[in-house]
């Protein structure tokens, strides 16, 4: 295993035989395709990358320190929103599940179903951004705008539900801030009906385009054993062919009641675990999310969404680690309580942080353009990497 990790991914026909000088080049923190303020220190030999050293921390906003200085557990939620800001619902979800476990609260069924719908919507939103920006990284502009167009429709549903488009503060410990609006099911079903053909269009325009396949297949291959050793999660892990999805393998909330599949990378256009596989896993996951949403809306039980919200949140001393499957991967909250109203410690295991740490393993021996492709395919959000 050690060997596979140090072995550089050789580009066909690009053995480094000529004697040449290596150049250190700084990609970022201001660079169009580092998806935020990531800095990659590239050691390049011409166009071929010898080593990649990621430097992070430019967006460090002291989330964990803030949590220890809040007056109560509830106030953490707006901050949790701001970690992975393209899928804020999923971040809240993980936090409230962790707090409820710590408080030993059982939340009403209706709340669970609405949470699942919202989390799956946020998965669609996040994947749309990932796919759109990935297209941009590869050089295709138009898919990005199509993705943004569809994303707006989801954001409209979010806004009608909780009043905010991006940072929701919607899931509260023990409940939700609002019940869904009156015409919710109809709107959701409309969206599902609208969205399926759009995925096909996206496939026509981008996924099966020969140039796109050439750029992504066989690039940035991450074998399954290396992936597990790096503990990468989400589409990156599934792209490597490991069918590991916490919604199925360690179900939380009511995910065990839905019928859906775990898409995995099969290496259809190249090697298992290449960029195209990771990309395609996202496309298929959006389809699965639509399935889950449709099922959840059909089964949505009646009830009150605020009945289980505790008046005062003061968990017993203890610690809990809860992991949930966000669009980016496994988001873990390790919350330690000392019996007061303020968390003693909130550690976030962010999926992007871990996935990014595997970047050098995927990039050695690739070309500069491949770095962009690999970085786009692991879909990082710097807000979550740096917290």
């Amino acid at each position: 295993m050690e060997e596979t990790m140090t072995q550089p991914t050789k580009v066909a026909g690009f053995g480094r035989t000529l004697k040449s000088e290596e150049m250190v080049i700084s990609m970022g923190p201001q660079h169009p395709s580092t998806h935020g303020v990531l800095r990659l220190e590239l050691v390049v030999d011409g166009e071929i990358v010898v080593d990649v050293i990621p430097h992070i921390g430019y967006l460090h906003r002291c989330f964990e320190k803030h949590c220890e200085h809040m007056t109560n557990y509830q106030q953490v939620i707006p901050y949790a929103d701001r970690m992975d800001y393209v899928a804020a619902m999923s971040n809240e979800f993980g936090y409230v599940v962790a707090c409820e476990k710590l408080l030993k609260i059982k939340v009403p069924e209706r709340v669970e179903y609405i949470r699942v719908i919202m989390a799956e919507f946020s998965r669609i939103v996040s994947h749309l951004i990932a796919i759109g920006t990935y297209g941009m990284d590869i050089g295709a502009f138009t898919p990005f705008l199509y993705c943004m167009r569809d994303r707006e429709r989801v954001l409209d549903i979010f806004e009608q539900t909780c009043g905010a488009r991006l940072l929701y503060n919607y899931m509260w410990i023990g409940g939700l801030s609002h019940d869904v609006p009156g015409n919710f099911s109809g709107k959701v079903k409309d969206f599902c009906r609208y969205f399926r053909p759009k995925i096909r269009e996206l496939n026509d325009l981008l996924s099966y385009n020969k140039i796109f396949i050439k750029r992504t297949a066989n690039v940035g291959v991450l074998p399954a054993d290396v992936a597990l050793n790096y503990a990468v999660s989400g589409p990156v892990l599934r792209g490597s062919g490991v069918a590991w999805d916490l919604r199925k393998n360690d179900p939380y909330s009511v995910y065990d009641r839905f019928d859906f599949e775990i898409p995995v990378g099969k290496g259809l256009k190249g090697t298992v675990g290449d960029c195209w596989d990771r990309y395609m896993v996202r496309i298929h996951e959006m389809e699965q999310s639509v399935n889950i949403i449709e099922q959840a809306v059909d089964k949505l039980p009646a009830g009150d969404v605020a009945s289980a919200i505790p008046k005062r949140i003061r968990p017993d001393a203890g610690d809990v680690y809860v992991r949930t499957e966000t669009p980016k991967g496994e988001l873990g909250y390790y919350i330690v309580s000392d019996g007061t109203a303020t968390p003693f410690r909130v550690k976030v295991k962010s999926p992007c942080f871990v996935n990014l740490s595997a970047l050098p393993a995927m990039c050695r021996g690739a070309m500069i353009a491949d770095i962009v492709a690999v970085l786009g395919s692991i879909d990082i959000v710097l807000g979550e990497v740096d917290r």
Binding site: T71, P78, Y146, Q160, C162, A164, Y208
Partner: protein
């Protein structure tokens, strides 16, 4: 050799398929709007700029406590018992002057946590979302309606009253029955109408 030609064929075909998609979209109506000319209607739950109806504020400080970014600053002055500050619209009796109620909207994160604990529902999020300013100072919204003179007056009366009470207590402690006869203070002017922002 076969893959060579198939690659070229695939390349040409998929390029044409992609071109077909963009060609169709050339004639689809745009989904964007001309923003400041055309505006979308916000849903009723929209969370944007905060507004405080000072007529109803009882100065309980709950919103400031709930705020995760500490952008609300409230100072209160107790009223003397002889003053009637009136009732709020939900019928709560007001007992505190609120000389300072500042919201630094530049810090506000629009989470809405301040809205829920308010007992009189006087702080709420409106649908106003265009309030850019050139000076950061202008983003500190001062909702309090009391003039400095009124504040000073209220404070001095409070301290006078407190002194009096202390004196009374001391007197009561010294000699059991004390002649309590403070002349009634002139009624404080009611707070002026709230300054409607935006």
């Amino acid at each position: 050799m076969l893959t060579y030609f198939r690659d070229i064929w695939d390349g040409v075909v998929t390029v044409l398929i992609g071109m077909k998609v963009t060609w169709m979209h050339l004639f689809t109506p745009a989904v964007t709007i001309q923003y400041p000319d055309v505006k979308l209607k916000l849903p009723e739950r929209a969370r944007n700029r905060l507004y405080v109806n000072m007529d109803d504020c009882i100065g309980c400080d709950q919103c400031a406590m709930a705020c995760p970014v500490d952008c609300i600053t409230i100072e209160t002055v107790k009223s003397t018992p002889d003053v009637d500050l009136g009732l709020t619209s939900v019928g709560t009796k007001k007992r505190l002057y609120v000389p300072v109620f500042d919201i630094d909207i530049a810090k506000c994160c629009y989470c809405g946590l301040c809205v829920y604990p308010c007992p009189t529902e006087c702080i709420k999020m409106t649908d106003v979302y265009e309030f850019a300013e050139f000076d950061r100072e202008n983003l500190i919204y001062r909702f309090a309606t009391m003039t400095p003179a009124e504040t000073a007056d209220a404070r001095s009366r409070l301290s006078a009253y407190e002194k009096e009470q202390a004196a009374k207590k001391a007197a009561a402690a010294a000699a059991k029955p004390a002649p309590a006869a403070a002349p009634p203070a002139p009624g404080a002017p009611p707070p002026a109408n709230p300054e409607t922002k935006g």
